[in-house]
């Protein structure tokens, strides 16, 4: 039995944490991996530079779903800056199993989607600030 389908991964897949929708997210993003049909929507509630709330929906393989479950647990309560600093390796450590190259995209889709959501948020704020200053 190899590492990939450990019980806790399957557990996260079957009953993912933070699965659902936020009523009024500050930012949200739908990431997808067209080659495998994986799709994840990440919703974040940010205030004072801290990720207060996080939820996701989507469909995909056990790896992508478990990864999203673990990642959302991890970032809740962190500052935006801390989340932005997370690397793929950090996420892989969190998942704690060996991911083969062919599955890397599945494993990293959640982080990639969070990064996009944060970038959107940053862009929105920069624009808002620009307008205030103008």
């Amino acid at each position: 039995m190899d590492d990939l389908y450990r019980d806790y991964i399957l557990e996260h897949y079957r009953r993912p944490h933070n699965f659902g929708v936020l009523e009024a997210p500050t930012t949200s993003y739908e990431g997808s991996n067209p080659l495998c049909g994986d799709r994840i929507t990440m919703m974040l509630g940010i205030s004072d530079g801290v990720v207060r709330e996080v939820a996701f929906t989507g469909r995909g393989c056990a790896i992508s779903q478990a990864s999203a479950s673990l990642l959302t647990d991890e970032i809740k309560g962190k500052t935006v800056a801390e989340v932005e600093e997370m690397t793929p390796d950090d996420l892989l450590d969190l998942i704690g199993i060996d991911i083969s190259p062919a599955r890397l995209k599945c494993a990293l889709l959640s982080l990639d989607t969070v990064a996009h959501a944060l970038a959107d948020d940053a862009a929105k704020q920069a624009e808002a600030q620009g307008q205030t200053q103008a």
């Binding site: 399957l10 049909g37 599955r103």
Partner: protein, 425 residues
């Protein structure tokens, strides 16, 4: 291994006979094992086939004994290379009963063949408002080149829809032909559903409506007798690497008049007759379409693969794969609870079985099967619109070839039960 032989129902395939056993010995890779010491159970032949020793040797001999460029060398090894390369063309022509070897253009793969036709024939013959009829089950290779063409020329694409069983709806095809399309292009055998399309009948319909017909034979040529004259089509394309030949080999067949009227696709050495600084004229077919140094070793390998298949006999190949497909449909349906199988009944399909286990992503299915050395494909198999049609994000696919045996299908069924067990824990 086969715990099924005693319970087998109406179709009771004979155990792999001595012929098949010795045929498997022709494929060196079948003697390998994976990182867990499990023997290879290769069920991904629709993606690319394994290569028999005869093909490996043919390509090797070129590299070891007569590596040289063709057509222009006046020395022994160059003449040998030219003879071998043109001999391969003759073998490939024979495989599909082309009227003459000069109608076979060697290309990298089916994809290049279709692009060649789209660029060369298409850009000259498709104009504003002209339509091309495809089907909903096309591989991206027989879809995206036509999208680019009609975008450039302001033409239209129309699609023959399919039934839930994965059969083309010929009554809609009939209606689409009223649009007087310039070209009808479709796959001989679907690489996802396995459907064998009625090429001859559809070609007659298309011709009656004034359209030319291009057939994507990537999943047909290695698996059944193909006779382009009997089919009556205009263009026929296929890949070498799916028919036991090396990667880098492939062929476009088209009728001489068409090839002669078509402008070149790629330009360069060998495809010219005379070159001046500001104008050139072209070589005869097929060389007009083979610019630059071709993949000599791979095409020589493709010739050897054609000979290997013809030596088995394409009827025998077809019978064997039909037996495998019928067996797989039976075993999987019976032994893997809840499995969803796509595509038509065994007698209308080639050696392809796509499926899903409910609630389990095919990536996970493939990954768990891999532990046991079982290779299946998971994804959209380059048929995204077809997956959309069935509202599937992806599917898993097992596909067969001359070396496939029942024990491998048994192993697949066992493996799938294990996948379900892991996910049900």
């Amino acid at each position: 291994m086969s715990d099924l032989s005693t319970t087998s129902t109406q179709s009771r395939p004979a155990a792999a006979g001595p012929d098949l056993r010795s045929r498997r010995a022709d494929f060196p890779i079948l003697a390998t094992t994976n990182r867990h010491g499990k023997p290879l159970v290769y069920l991904d032949s629709a993606a690319t086939s394994l290569k028999p020793q005869a093909v490996i040797d043919a390509a090797d001999a070129y590299n070891r004994e007569y590596s040289s460029n063709i057509h222009r060398g006046i020395y022994e090894i160059a003449e040998r290379a030219t003879t071998a390369y043109e001999g391969a063309r003759a073998s490939v022509a024979k495989l599909i009963n082309a009227p003459e070897p000069a109608e076979i253009v060697f290309v990298r793969n089916a994809t290049e063949a279709i692009n060649l036709v789209a660029y060369s024939w298409g850009r000259r013959n498709i104009g504003r408002g002209d339509s091309i009829v495809l089907t909903e089950m096309e591989h991206h290779a027989n879809l995206v080149p036509w999208q680019l063409l009609v975008q450039e020329k302001d033409g239209d694409l129309e699609f023959v829809p399919i039934t839930d069983d994965g059969l083309l709806r010929l009554e809609v095809f009939e209606v689409l032909l009223h649009l007087k399309p310039k070209l009808v292009a479709f796959t001989h055998v679907s690489n996802m559903l396995g459907t064998v399309n009625p090429v001859r009948e559809m070609t007659e319909m298309a011709h009656a409506a004034g359209a030319l017909v291009l057939i994507d034979g990537a999943q047909a040529v290695p698996h059944m007798p193909v006779d382009v004259q009997e089919l009556g089509v205009d263009f026929y394309v296929f890949s070498g690497h799916k028919m036991l030949a090396p990667t880098g080999s492939g062929a476009l067949w088209a009728r001489r008049e068409l090839l002669e009227a078509m402008p070149p696709f790629m330009a360069g050495g060998d495809m010219i007759r005379e070159v001046h600084l500001r104008r050139s004229d072209w070589n005869e077919i097929p060389w007009k379409f083979e610019a630059g140094t071709p993949d000599i070793s791979a095409q020589i390998g493709m010739g050897a693969a054609a000979e290997y298949l013809m030596a088995i006999g394409l009827d025998a190949v077809r019978d064997h794969e039909h037996e495998m497909v019928a067996y797989a449909l039976e075993v999987l349906r019976r032994d893997v609870p809840g499995i969803e199988l796509y595509g038509p009944a065994a007698d209308r399909r080639g050696g392809v079985v796509s499926f899903n286990l409910p609630g389990i992503h095919p990536h996970d299915v493939a990954q768990i099967l891999d532990r046991s050395g079982i290779c299946v494909r998971a994804g959209h198999h380059c048929t995204m619109p077809l997956h959309e049609r069935f509202d599937l994000a992806a599917s898993a696919r097992a596909s067969f070839n001359v070396y496939t045996i029942r024990e491998e299908i048994d192993a697949l069924a066992t493996g799938l039960r294990e996948v379900a067990r892991i996910f049900d824990r």
